[in-house]
Amino acid sequence: MTRLPDRNEKPAGTAPHGLSDSDEARLIARTAGGELRAFELLYRLYHPRLTRFLQRMTRRPALVDELLDDTLLVVWRRADSFNGRSKVSTWIFAIAYRKALKALQQLDEPADDEGADERPEPGPGPEQRIDQWQLRAALQRALDQLSAAQRAVVDLAYYHGMGYREIAEIADCPVDTVKTRMFYARRRLKALLPGAKEDWL
């Protein structure tokens, strides 16, 4: 019997940290009005999420603090430019995404490399039995082989629980591009999982 996902894992309109989207929008409005306390709350809400996202996307710990600071400084300085057409989280993650891509491009790292799926598979093959520690290490290596754009989709979808339309807004790309990036990323990662079979395509 197929187990279906819980339908109430995250009620629509509620951010992972418990504030509603409208609460967050109000915090942005108060920040735009110069209310430092509102901004501090936003900062504290988004600090852990952006740290995780930027670590995962860039794989460069030395970049993370600076990118996070730069992202949230934009939130403070440009809160008045938030137009309410997207969720606050989409707006903030999009700022972080653009800053991360720009930083990686300045380091000559292929940030948007759709050819990453052509690289040889890393780590042990799926036929080998690997324990959880090995699996984690192998997945880590596989993630390292992905492009930053692909890693961003993986993290936004799996960890931050974002839908593909929201991810498309963040990455400023068509939804099919999001699905394609996810497809290649998953193909590489799933090949390492116990029980994985040859690609069905």
Partner: protein, 204 residues
């Protein structure tokens, strides 16, 4: 009945949606499509099982950064930006910084109001009664200021702590004389980020 699992395009479409099916982020229509397909497709159900495994490996929380340190750094950048704006603005501040100055002014007004309001009926909070002088200044410390630094700052300026911290981490002080020299000395103390008189030329 349509045998959807024989349609390769059906497989591809469903498999492309599986990550968001697992995280519960599909709309009702898409979810129904995926569920209908899965019901008749063992191959895609196997993919779903792998998808759940993959989701489990990628949704594990990791240690985050130091948010207090980060916020302190952000405050310094905000303060530095406001200070630079004040210095460079001269008699005609640029439009881009006018709001920042206005915000600072508004915060000072709000802080003063927040501090002054409790004074109106503050005696019932002051268990030490007549031994406590009225506040005539406010001080703020950096988030990483140590208790020893805070005590030293009060001692060096001969200040008595009469209230706080407020929500903005401000403390009310009773200074012997809240003049410019005393406040300047207080501002020079390690850990102090702000020291202001509650009233110009205030004296006890």
């Amino acid at each position: 009945m349509t045998v959807v699992h024989l349609d390769p395009e059906g497989h591809a479409k469903v498999q492309a949606l599986l990550p968001w099916f697992v995280t519960g982020r599909l709309d009702a229509t898409e979810r129904a499509e995926v569920e209908a397909h899965l019901a008749g497709c063992p191959r895609c159900r196997a993919e779903l099982a792998l998808e759940r495994q993959l989701h489990a490996t990628q949704s594990v929380p990791e240690p985050g950064g130091d948010v207090d340190r980060g916020w302190a750094s952000m405050r310094r950048r905000i303060d530095a930006g406001a200070l630079a704006a004040r210095r460079s603005a001269g008699p005609g501040p640029s439009a881009g910084w006018r709001w920042a100055l206005a915000v600072q002014f508004a915060m000072i007004v709000l802080l003063a109001a927040a501090l002054l309001l409790p004074r109106l009926d503050g005696e019932r909070y002051r268990g030490l009664g007549a031994a406590v002088a009225p506040a005539n200044a406010v001080v703020m410390f950096s988030p990483d200021a140590t208790e020893a630094q805070m005590r030293a700052a009060l001692r060096e300026s001969d200040a008595r702590l009469v209230g706080g911290p407020t929500v903005a981490h401000a403390y009310l002080l009773a200074l012997p004389v809240a003049d410019d020299a005393t406040l300047a000395r207080l501002r020079e103390q390690p850990g102090v980020t702000l020291a202001e008189a509650l009233r110009a030329g205030a004296a006890p």
